[in-house]
């Protein structure tokens, strides 16, 4: 696994993997390096989240899908 990810400049539409195993697509990026607004595409632990929008905290982001 790679080191910390700088989410500050991730583009809208980019997909990120979270520590929980969930995957989300960026809807907007406030470019503060701390938060992303994203929509869940997959959430193995809590399938009810899929389709919902949420604020994603930078420390939860473990991977950016290529």
């Amino acid at each position: 696994m790679s080191g910390p990810i700088n989410i500050r400049d991730l583009a809208v539409g980019a997909r990120v993997v979270l520590g929980s195993g969930a995957e989300a697509e960026i809807v907007s990026n406030p470019n503060d390096g701390v938060w992303l607004f994203a929509r869940y595409l997959a959430s193995p632990r809590d399938p009810a989240l899929v389709g919902q929008e949420d604020m994603i905290f930078a420390q939860d982001v473990v991977e950016v899908r290529p």
Partner: protein
């Protein structure tokens, strides 16, 4: 008026009967601390100009007294003024001077606030707070009242304060002189880019009283009068018409606002000015003619330095500026100076004025430099225990003000001193410190709104 209040500001420290004011009110740290509560936390303070935040998400970080505040336009277009301090541990949530953003995110633990102030992001809200934190209670602290007036934005921390225009009272016409166009059209002032910010080692009241109408200190600007800085290259200013005008001090009692102003005789014709540049001269000639065609009292008024209580100075004539004297401890002031031009003026006029403004005002201003030297060392030389025993005198012109003033059909309400022959008076300073003492004594805004008790007519007129 001069009863001995519970804290003894009148007549102990501010004695208006003899016109003596103790140096303590300038140099005493305890009085300064009390002043933050009693004056700055209750007064209407100037925050900025709407043109600084034209679009949703735009923000400008300003100050209210010692505190940093964020002036911003939310995503829906509404203007807010927030305390620039995170509700979690107080970190400054915005350390930029201005910009555009979707959220204000705290660098410390990552709390994040919307441009409407709502707390929207809390790291580990579910895990660490178990979703129990009531986010609705922990948004950015917003001012109790805000008012946008002809582009300027004002705010007040006290919900019990009267609305801004009532606070301004009859002084409104003088604020209009700077915010309306030179030709008299409403709200034409445009803010030039860049706010000058600098530190002066003196109590904030030194510049506040100077701008209240210290026409006595012209001698301190002798050097610039000699070498010339005015728009025509001569002297400091460029007002031929002042030779025929009446020069007045106008003080609005019960409000604490005061100014110098000039009144033109009725039927006065524009005088040539700004002859160094034909384009500029033509612009002002045109504006002066237009102004005279507009009905209303302001067409005969020429603005001059004035002060809106407590710490906002205006100079409606050239250099056309607003300055805020932000207190920064009893012994230091952080000045913010904003410069204005007419929105519709040709570029050549704006450029010409900008050059003149910064040659005149601010830390590199050939005129203002000498003011700063005086305020600095007046303050320093007043701090000693011996010096503090000796009050300053403000008795100049005591007893020579008239209630309301009329000249050739123009009526000016307030306490007015005719300076045309007298040159100077200290009526404006007495007015400033009378109001200051009232704030220091009063426990609530009810006590401070004397006009609602004394003169219901005036309260109605200010609406």
């Amino acid at each position: 008026m001069t009863t001995n209040g519970p804290r003894g500001y009148r007549p102990g420290l501010v004695d208006l009967a003899t016109g003596q004011i103790s140096r303590e009110i300038f140099v005493n740290d305890d009085i300064y601390a009390e002043e933050q509560e009693r004056v700055f936390a209750r007064s209407w303070l100037f925050v900025g100009h709407e043109s600084q935040i034209p679009n949703p998400g735009d923000f400008f970080v300003s100050r209210m007294g010692e505190e940093s505040v964020i002036l911003c336009r939310d995503r829906a277009g509404a203007v807010h003024v927030f305390l620039n301090s995170c509700r979690h541990r107080g970190m400054k949530v915005c350390r930029y001077d201005d910009g555009n953003t979707t959220v204000f995110t705290c660098p410390y633990h990552g709390w994040s606030y919307g441009t409407d102030g709502a707390l929207v992001g809390v790291p580990y809200f579910r895990e660490a707070y178990h979703s129990a934190l009531d986010k609705a209670r922990w948004g950015l602290v917003e001012v109790a009242q805000m008012c946008a007036y002809k582009g300027t934005v004002w705010a007040n921390w006290d919900a019990a304060a009267p609305p801004f225009l009532e606070y301004l009272g009859e002084f409104r016409r003088f604020l209009d002189l700077i915010l309306d166009g030179w030709d008299g059209r409403e709200g034409q002032a445009e803010l030039l880019g860049g706010v000058q910010k600098w530190l002066i080692p003196c109590n904030w009241k030194f510049p506040a009283e100077n701008f209240s109408g210290d026409s006595y200190h012209n001698i301190s600007h002798r050097s610039v009068d000699l070498v010339g800085v005015g728009p025509s290259g001569k002297s400091r200013r460029d007002y031929g018409e002042l030779d025929v005008a009446r020069k007045l001090h106008v003080a609005i009692p019960d409000r604490g606002h005061q100014t110098i102003t000039y009144v033109l005789p009725s039927g006065h014709q524009p005088q040539p000015a700004y002859q160094n540049s034909p384009e500029v001269a033509e612009y002002f000639r045109h504006c002066e003619e237009e102004r005279r065609r507009r009905p209303g009292a302001n067409s005969r008024l020429i603005g001059a330095p004035g002060e809106i209580f407590p710490n906002l100075a205006l100079l409606p004539r050239q250099p056309r500026t607003l300055a805020v004297w932000h207190p920064k401890g009893a012994h230091q002031t952080e000045v913010w100076r904003f410069f204005f031009v007419d929105r519709d003026a040709p570029a050549a006029v704006k450029n010409f004025l900008r050059d003149y403004y910064i040659r005149y005002s601010g830390p590199a201003g050939m005129t203002e430099q000498d003011d700063m030297e005086n305020w600095n060392y007046a303050h320093a030389a007043s701090r000693g225990v011996i010096a503090r025993r000796y009050p300053y005198t403000y008795e100049m012109g005591l007893g020579h003000a008239v209630e309301n003033y009329e000249w050739e059909g123009l009526l000016l309400p307030g306490r007015v001193v005719d300076l045309t022959a007298a040159q100077a008076s200290e009526e404006p300073m007495r007015n400033l410190y009378r109001r200051w003492a009232e704030f220091m004594e009063a426990d609530s805004w009810d006590e401070l709104m004397t006009w609602r008790r004394n003169a219901p007519r005036e309260a109605v007129a200010a609406k």
